[in-house]
Amino acid sequence: MTSSPSSPTISLAMRRIRVACVPAIAALACLAADTLPAQQPQVHYDHAGTLSPGAIGQGRLRREGPLRGYVQPVEIKAPQGALISLAMDGQFDDGDSSTRLVGLQISPVYRLKVTNIPRNAGYEVFPTIEIIDRLYAPRGKETRFPIPIELTQEELEMALAGKFVTRVIYVEDTDTALPVAQDPNEQHWLEVHGSDDVLAEADKLGRPVAILRIGGRLPDADGPSPEFLFGSPGWMPLSPPAEVVEPAAAVNVLPRRG
């Protein structure tokens, strides 16, 4: 039996190569597996924007924070000429303007009544507002920085057509907000795809603070039921903040001393 003198050497080298390949393959496998988490979303939501009204606010209250009992000023705007009413003690109050400044608590669901809608006289829409977080305005200036909730003409007409519209109002993330001056009387909005969660999309762009839901359901003919009004949670009427006086005018009206 003869053997090549070089055979044991080659065999040993091959074995060493194989042994060295094992950790290399393992490292490659680890690297390949390590790329998987990067493809997953960085935020995992345990709720969805389609949850029952009040559920998201309740979940927010269960977390810590100065939220319970806080009355958040909210400015509700409707198209010019429309009237906004809020439910109180089982019935709607007399809506007398298209802009209401009220204090709402976090988590309860507040039912509104919008009447005298332009181009839709005689029709009524009953949206709801759910406050899910608060703003941290300077002390004493809370009413100057309310949450703006706008009921647009387009959305009201969609509700009259039987559609269900969910609008999430969020505070912009300062890192991603557009550095462009905005008209305070006009609210920018984004429309998301149906397969996307509107609440999650708003969370990506900032901090959601309120949810507005608009539909075409009407109360009973003999008056709104407690179920329809979500128990008529209490709210607080607020006075609009005093107008800021321009500096030049202030200086002019002051009497000169001397």
């Binding site: 998987l36 997953q40 995992h44 389609t50 949850l51 029952s52 009204p53 009040g54 309740q58 209250l61 269960r62 319970r68 009992g69 009355v71 109180m88 608590q105 988590s107 309860p108 669901v109 009953f126 949206p127 509700a159 039987g162 559609k163 269900f164 969910t166 429309e191 998301v192 795809h193 149906g194 397969s195 996307d196 509107v198 839901r213 608009i214 539909g215 075409g216 359901r217 009407l218 039921s225 407690p226 179920e227 329809f228 979500f230 128990g231 008529s232 949670p233 209490g234 607080m236 009427p237 005093a242 107008e243 800021v244 006086v245 321009e246 500096p247 202030a250 200086v251 002051l254 001393r257």
Partner: protein, 409 residues
């Protein structure tokens, strides 16, 4: 050596198969289905678990602070008012919007008997119906179909987290089309399923309902199963050409004061589209009307639930038999032998249970941060930027009229 290992393997296989045959019966028989449904030991009854409480009543969560307009409290501990708790106690209803045909008159039973005495609702019109029940309607004065009266049923599905927001803001549109009436006129049965499509079946975030009609599906396709696959079912309308007001016909149920339901499923929607049973005459009698489970009425044996706990068999083996023999004379029997030849194989309960679970896809959360490094840098700009002069003098009225810099009196 190889042959020896093969022999041992064959021997082990033979032993294991033989032992298995001795230990396991060749065929398993389960108790009857009604007995399996009962938690009690062979008889109907709540069993040791008793009927569960009404967890729905406790959905309120932490109580909110008592407050009202002009008087609101601080941190909730008083629990004076909790709308969510109040909401949990309310009966849920869905609003049905009868879209058309225009002028069609819709009635439903409110007073019992064989009539449909409700206030006539002329389409388009709306009516609220409690959820989790089936209601019998009457369609009359259908435009273009003089004298035709139809008696469809509408099954209102209980709200679920997917549909609750929609149902609290939108009605369920129900439209009877000319095609539906034509199908019914030819003795066909029409099933219409109204549902909210899931997100993947929607084009925009604006939610709108869709309707599946059995006559537009392939033969054999179940519209309820298809709608359930596509989204969440809101209501099911079943339409045929039965006449419920013939003199000897089967009328509506006998109650008074409220809308009468034609069917009832106490589970609250789990059997949606499946078999339901006509329980209004038996169950709702003492309450005077349908009672959706959302009301949370306590179960009372023999009143709103069947008589529990009464053994209905006189023999100890679960089969019907006489309690004593002979019947009709004073008891004189002193010995009663029943021989049970039933093959019984009831294995002992296991003392240790292993459950292996796996969720696919698994969960992978980002690693939480364990170290934070904050570097704050301040750059002194070469150009000195002052606050605009106008901003310095900005002030609100109501306070002092003295501008900054002017000494007060």
């Amino acid at each position: 050596m190889k042959y020896q290992m093969a022999r041992i393997a064959v021997l082990l296989a033979a032993v294991s198969s033989t032992v298995g045959c001795f230990k396991m019966p060749g065929k398993h028989n389960l108790p009857p289905a009604p007995m399996l449904m009962e938690p009690g030991p062979g008889v109907g009854g709540p069993g040791p678990g008793v009927i569960g409480g009404h967890s729905g009543m406790m959905l309120g969560g932490p109580g909110g602070g008592g407050y009202g307009p002009g008087c609101y409290g601080g941190d909730g501990g008083m629990g004076m008012y909790d709308p969510s708790m109040m909401m949990a106690m309310m009966p849920r209803s869905s609003q049905v919007y009868f879209v058309g045909p225009d002028g069609t008159q819709v009635n439903w039973d409110i007073g019992g008997g064989a009539g449909f005495e409700s206030e006539p609702l002329v389409a388009p019109g709306r009516q609220n119906f409690p959820q989790g029940a089936i209601y019998r309607l009457k369609l009359s004065k259908i435009p273009g179909r003089q004298g035709v009266e139809l008696y469809p049923t509408i099954e209102i599905a209980p709200a679920n987290p997917r549909t609750e927001a929609f149902l609290s803001h939108n009605p369920i549109p129900v439209q009877f089309t000319e095609e539906d009436f034509d199908q019914v006129a030819t003795s066909n049965f029409v099933t219409k399923v109204i549902y909210v499509p899931d997100a993947e079946f929607q084009e925009l975030a604006v939610a709108g309902v869709q309707t599946l009609v059995s006559t537009r599906l392939d033969p054999g396709a179940d519209p309820i199963a298809e709608a359930d696959r596509r989204g969440s079912i809101l209501a099911i309308v079943r339409l045929g050409n039965i006449d419920l007001e013939v003199p000897s016909g089967e009328g509506a149920q006998v109650m008074d004061g409220v809308i009468q339901q034609a069917g009832y499923y106490p589970g609250g929607g789990q059997c949606l589209g499946g078999p339901t049973y006509d329980g209004s005459a038996t169950y709702a009698g003492s309450y005077g009307g349908p009672m959706p489970m959302a009301m949370g009425a306590p179960p009372i044996s023999g009143v709103n639930v069947p008589d529990w706990g009464l053994a209905y068999s006189g023999t100890p083996i679960g089969l019907p038999g006489p309690p004593h023999v002979p019947l009709g004379v004073p008891a004189g029997l002193t010995k009663h032998v029943i021989k049970n030849n039933t093959h019984v194989h009831l294995p002992k309960p296991v003392d240790k249970m292993h459950i292996t679970v796996k969720q696919s896809p698994g969960m992978s959360y980002p690693t939480p941060p364990s170290h934070m490094r904050i570097v704050e840098r301040s750059y002194a700009p070469g150009l000195r930027l002052w606050n605009p002069f106008a901003n310095k003098l900005q002030q609100a009225p109501g306070g002092s009229n003295v501008p900054p810099g002017v000494p007060c009196d």
